[in-house]
């Protein structure tokens, strides 16, 4: 009962904070926190800390499509309902984090072990790290030191980092990914700005398909293809729909107005 009351108080306080923060500037996430997802479908129910997933470290090694199409992760945190058992059987995180896969010169640590030794328990913390002071294997600033920089988000120009060879993205895992016919890149197209004074946006299919393929966006995120078939406004995008699915969380943030409101997109 006490606990329930305490939780009620907490909710009240948080609701108060949220309501009170309507008209102020949100605090920007720090570069290494941009793209951090908290996954908590089952963790706390099983009395274990929620998982903090860092996009930056994974996107420095793999394409978006590999995880979001081939492995089957949803596009919203907590939409996939990953179970420890799934990981143990080699699905989701366990596709790579199986204690066997070799990346570079090291083995990828095993996720969600059945064993219950002290050593295993320590490994749990590597992902189930919310609220814990876990020292990560890779330090963000050290890891990204030489990468080409830009402002906002992770502060890294990922596209350039790949072009200049700082990162090499894996797009295929044997037994999981499908060998596909070479791509036919679709045409770029212009989206008309809705208000006077805002320039049109020229959307680049090429920029998007290299890392994403088709299924990541179509039809789940963008339904219509015919120009104007999907009507979406900045309000909705700010709320995390359409472009906002990625560009509020992982890809460069929407605050960078002129990167899209220009012809062509940068």
């Amino acid at each position: 009962m006490r606990k329930a009351l305490f939780i009620a108080c907490l909710i009240f306080v948080f609701a108060g904070i949220v309501l009170a923060q309507t008209g102020v500037k949100k605090k920007r996430p720090l570069p290494y926190n941009y793209g951090k997802m908290i996954i908590n479908n089952y963790s706390e129910k099983a009395e274990i800390a929620p998982v903090a997933f860092d996009h930056w470290h994974h996107r420095a090694k793999f394409t978006c499509r590999l995880c979001h199409v081939d492995i089957g992760f949803g596009m919203k945190a907590n939409s996939t309902n990953i179970r420890a058992a799934d990981n143990m059987k080699g699905f989701y995180c366990g596709t790579c984090h199986n204690g066997k896969m070799v990346y570079g010169n090291r083995k990828v640590f095993e996720a969600c072990s059945r064993k219950n030794t002290e050593e295993d328990a320590k490994r749990c913390d590597r992902c189930h790290s919310v609220g814990k002071n876990v020292k990560k294997e890779y330090d963000f600033y050290e890891f990204t030191e030489k990468f080409p920089k830009e402002r906002f988000g992770n502060g890294i120009n990922w596209e350039k980092a790949e072009a200049e060879g700082f990162i090499k993205l894996t797009d295929f895992i044997e037994g999981i990914s499908i060998k596909r016919a070479p791509f036919t890149i679709q045409k770029d197209f212009a989206l008309e700005g809705k208000v006077k004074g805002m320039p049109d946006i020229v959307f680049s299919h090429k920029k998007h398909t290299v890392w994403n393929g088709c299924e990541v966006c179509h039809p789940e995120i963008f339904i219509g293809v015919k120009k104007g078939a999907t009507k979406y406004s900045m309000v909705e995008i700010f709320e995390g729909k359409f472009c906002g699915v990625c560009h509020t969380t992982v890809a460069f943030p929407l605050t960078d107005c002129q990167r899209c409101h220009t012809k062509p997109v940068q």
Partner: protein, 264 residues
């Protein structure tokens, strides 16, 4: 006292406390309180002491003067390009970040060439804990157009007349394609108060779109009715800037242009 009764009593007390809290915050919100923040001397308006970790590390807090900086750079440069948050002590400015060319130490700013750098003899130019530091330089602004509020300077007019020429960017040139210039008419909450005008242009000369949108002002039109004067005065919406840096809200006429002594 039996345990059960005690816990019931404690629960009742907690609940009453909660209800009182709700009522109190509601009263504050609905009726507002019309106290404008205290008026500092002209040369201290917009001055800040930044003390996120300084004193914890045994160094004096940093003094920062908006009026010194806004002569040379627009708000956009620091609050967009250099990623300074809008609220003091929320940006993770560190000595090492500064020396590696971020925040204050960005190339073109306090890099040791354009403005004094982060080496020994300069420490106390910022780390002096004195909010009024550098006030002797305030007299150099005597040639700028006057108002009776804030710094006593009409910065917008000064910019328009070319008396100051602050840089609008360091590396990210604002897009010339974006030219949003609509002036909004904002109905006041009370009948007797004339509407406030909001000129986009006067703001975009200093700011970038994203300084205000969508965090401070969601672009959904209907939400504007939620930004009452009492919220503005609490530091939200217009109050993010127009209490502490931009002309303060005591200057009613700057927004509610048709206001007269009577309606005041």
């Amino acid at each position: 006292m039996p345990y059960k009764t005690r816990s019931v009593i404690s629960r009742v007390i907690t609940l009453t406390g909660l209800i009182a809290l709700v009522l109190f915050s509601w009263l504050l919100e609905v009726h507002g309180y019309w106290d404008f923040p205290p008026v500092p001397p002209l040369e201290e308006f917009g001055n800040l002491l930044i003390n996120r970790i300084s004193e914890k590390n045994g160094i004096k807090a940093v003094t920062f003067s908006h009026w010194i900086h806004r002569q040379k750079h627009t708000c956009r440069v620091c609050h967009f390009e250099l990623e300074f948050n809008m609220k003091v002590n929320t940006t993770e400015i560190t000595e090492s970040a500064n020396s590696s060319g971020k925040f204050c130490g960005t190339s073109g700013c306090h890099d040791g060439r354009i403005a004094f750098g982060h080496d020994k003899p300069n420490c106390e130019k910022c780390h002096n804990g004195n909010r009024g530091y550098g006030k002797e330089k305030f007299s150099t602004l005597s040639g700028l157009p006057k108002t009776g509020f804030g710094n006593g300077i009409n910065w917008v007019k000064a910019l328009k007349k070319g008396l100051i020429a602050p840089a609008h960017y360091l590396t990210i040139k604002p897009s010339e394609d974006i030219s949003y210039e609509t002036t909004l008419l904002l109905e006041a909450e009370w009948e007797k108060i004339p509407p406030a005008i909001f000129p986009h242009r006067a703001h975009t000369q200093w700011l970038d779109c994203n300084n205000c949108h969508p965090d401070i002002f969601n672009i959904k039109k209907k939400t504007t009715k939620h930004f009452s004067m009492s919220l503005n005065l609490k530091g939200e919406f217009c109050g993010v800037c127009h209490l502490s840096v931009a002309f303060p809200m005591n200057e009613c006429k700057r927004c509610h242009v048709d206001i007269t002594k009577e309606t005041k």
